[in-house]
Amino acid sequence: MVEVLVVASIVALAFLPMIDVFRSGSRQLEQTQPYHQAVFLGEKCLEESRLGAEEDPYFLSRLLVDGYGAEPAPVTGGRHPFFAVLEDTAVPWGRIEPSEDGAIQKESGPLHDQVEPFIAAVQSNLTQGSPPQPPEAEARVQFDWIDGRDKAMRYELIAAVRVWVPRTKVEVPVPAGEELELAKAIEPGATQGIGALAAARGADAEKLRAVAKLLVYGREARSTAERATALAATLRAEVLGASEGPARDGKALRLGRLDEAMAARTCSLLQQMRPPLEALAQALPPGALGEPAPSKALLTEAVELVRLTLDGFQKSVGAALADYGALARQEFVPSGWRPSLHVALLRLAKMAALTYPWPDRKPLHAYLAELAAYYRGRMPHMVHFCEQEDQLVESLEQTWPLSAAAADARKAREAYAAAAMKLLLYSAPPAPQ
């Protein structure tokens, strides 16, 4: 009897902690389960942020300025923009629209019960980096919920968000235009730089350097154009002669890229040619090019090279628009091509609008509206991109980063006529009486 009582009391004493252990195990499961959910929900939000930043250059301002997703909202019921829709549940199939398709509702089954407690918020931050590091942006995803002990819990995950860095110049590598190179353009056997050559000839160094630059950059444009034209002709013939299929599509894409590369190269060269053209257009007094002056043939060559470059730029932009456009109009192109084709067409059209005047910019508005309609329900970040671009169409000169490069091409063209006349009519000063 005594033994039984002693054993019973020991068992009773040992049993109580066991109950606690079992209960704590169950509590652990209750506590970790929301964390598990939060981890996966957080990863979804971060992936969405990364995708948005990749597809839409205005996504960061959408986060920072518009506070997209910053307002804490429940994950269910489509109340938070990052969880607006779950899947394509209604016609038309192939489009996922918040107003038509299903968010996480009760009808979604156990998923709704699992994520119902969560309140999501996506905060963003932009910090100025210390040079040479550019600014950095981050998206901070946080989920709040009340756990079984009525305690407020939070899970946070942070990811870096891409910052798009604009550029104001087209940067295809061009000849450096070094002093000796310029001198050799005027006098092939030169051993000193253009400054020394100008001094030896009694020339205005600025004017002589201007002529030399036109020759150097113009020759670069000509040699590139010769290579590209031959290749483009071959590709075009192959595209026209091929039947529908991946091989043809690949060649058509290469052709469009070649045209755009030529446009970019000639734009880069025109950026360099603009200052010397403007200098020559202003004045080229007799004798400014020194004695002996560059020959008539050399001056004519300079004029012809500038003409080739200006024409080449215009033709390349037009050809790229046509080739990309033809590809974009095809019923089928491989997945992933269409967004980049549409974006390429947009930037080429903007460059065209800024380099030669259009009657108005309605075609750009119409195009962006078409794109927004096409991507609605498919790629929401592209829709946002199109909407932002549409607001900036009428102020391209002030807002588009490459408007300065476009201005260089346009001003080079405007200065060409006057500079060409002066070069072609240049004469040495009359001999003293």
């Binding site: 957080g42 250059p57 040479p132 891409r162 500038v306 096409y374």
Partner: protein, 439 residues
């Protein structure tokens, strides 16, 4: 009497059972405890992994932003490599960035650590400066998670590159096949047809084992496409405006060069017309002969004057009123002298209006040439001639040229007629001096 306790075989069994029960409970408790801890550690592993990936991607974002802030040619690791380390939020990373095997390529290897989780990430990046994009385009050609034990060194990078090259080559080799399959599958909206297209049997037998992956290219599906298309409506691509069609655009480069050529031409034409006018004046100018300035008279005027002078000299000699002129004063010659100056005076009367008119017109044409040259020079000033201006100047130049040519032809015709008249009169057989004397 002392109570007697019956000793039974059950003595001690209760303790043993209780002990066994306690041990069992303890074991179960330990299992429950371990499972609970495992749940936490699993969660920490997943959380740590995601955070480590976020740290690695933050490194990528930082380096990408730095790379995109300068032209590709000015990248700081050009011709070399860049290795470094830093921290981000609750993690740290080491990286190695180096030029890739192809042009405009770079390889980035990052090892990141967060909450005791370690990941190694690899990116192959490619820049594309040959676009008109307002952003420097550096795209990811390839991305993968590498073995966490991969060293962040050039040796580790080299090892990974072999994997990457192999994967890229395989991707490229499969590309055409994959695109063709996608092309065929795109318009199909029926699952059964899709299964047939992809070569999936309707009720495939359940295999006993999962066969190993087939390496190498699948049989080519490249053949003529058939079947209805159900692709959604594509966005309309507008025809963007062409360069022409703007009001008063600048002259096209070929027109500018042509204009410059015309400018050169009209300068020489003006000089030629002026020379022609001078010649004309020199031969048939109508100003009276001035003995004090014989060089200012025209050839024909000098003919008449000389004829008359010789006649007078001969007459004076015949009347012994003057010295011997040293001339041939034979009657035949005197007749010819008479005929000559009569013809010249008559020609002056007859041809004068026509000659005057031609020379006046030439003056006018010269004036028009000068005016046109001034206008062309003015048009050459910045911003240069517009297309319509260039056209107008060319038209004017063509008009004046046509008129100048006509006047030149008319003047030559007149000159020829006058010369023939004087030749017929014998002026040129008399040996009279016709060239203007030098001053």
């Amino acid at each position: 009497m002392r109570p007697s306790f019956r000793r039974t075989r059950d003595t001690g069994m209760v303790s043993a059972i209780a002990l066994a029960t306690m041990l069992l409970l303890a074991l179960m408790g330990m299992v429950v405890h371990m499972l609970g801890r495992q749940t936490y550690s699993e969660l920490m592993r997943i959380d740590g992994f995601l955070r480590a990936v976020a740290v690695g991607e933050a490194c990528h974002a930082r380096l990408l932003a730095r790379l995109e802030s300068v032209p590709w040619e000015q990248r700081w690791f050009r011709g070399d490599s860049d290795a470094g380390s830093d921290d981000w939020k609750d993690g740290t990373y080491d990286y190695l960035l180096a030029d890739g095997p192809g042009p405009f390529e770079a390889d980035l290897l990052v090892r990141s650590v967060a909450l005791r989780s370690r990941v190694v990430l690899f990116w192959r990046l490619r820049a594309d400066p040959f676009t008109l994009s307002p952003y420097r385009q550096i795209q990811t050609l390839f991305y993968m998670h590498a073995d966490p034990d991969t060293p962040v060194s050039l040796g580790g990078l080299q090892t990974l590159r072999q994997q990457v090259e192999s994967a890229l080559a395989e991707r490229e080799a499969n590309r055409e096949w994959a695109e063709e399959m996608e092309r065929r599958a795109a318009p199909v909206d029926d699952v059964a047809r899709l299964a047939t297209l992809l070569g999936i049997a309707a009720d495939p037998p359940i295999p006993d084992f999962i066969p190993p992956a087939q390496r190498g290219r699948p049989p080519s599906p490249l053949a003529a496409r058939s079947g209805p298309s159900a692709t959604p409506a594509l966005p309309a691509i507008p025809s963007f405006p062409a360069p022409a069609g703007t009001p008063n655009p600048p002259a096209q480069p070929p027109n500018v060069q042509q204009l410059a050529g015309t400018r050169e031409r009209i300068r020489s034409r003006r000089v030629a017309l002026g020379t022609r006018l001078n010649e004309l004046n020199a031969r048939l100018g109508f100003a009276a002969f001035d003995p004090a300035n014989p060089q200012d008279s025209s050839e024909f005027t000098r003919l008449a004057y000389e004829s008359k002078r010789q006649l007078a000299a001969c007459a004076a000699a015949a009347a012994s009123l003057g010295p011997d002129p040293g001339l041939d004063c034979s009657p035949g010659r005197l007749d010819k002298l008479n005929a000559c100056w009569t013809a010249v005076d008559a020609a002056h009367m007859t041809f004068r209006p026509e000659a005057q008119a031609i020379m006046n017109e030439m003056f006018v044409a010269l004036g028009r040439y000068e005016e046109l040259e001034r206008d062309m020079d003015a048009a050459a000033e910045p911003p240069g001639p517009s297309a319509s201006q260039a056209e107008a100047l060319e038209r004017r130049a063509a008009d004046i040229d046509a008129r100048a040519e006509e006047l030149t032809r008319m003047s030559k015709d007149l000159e020829a007629r006058m010369t023939n008249t004087f030749r017929a009169a014998g002026c040129y057989d008399l040996g009279l001096p016709t060239a203007a004397p030098q001053k």
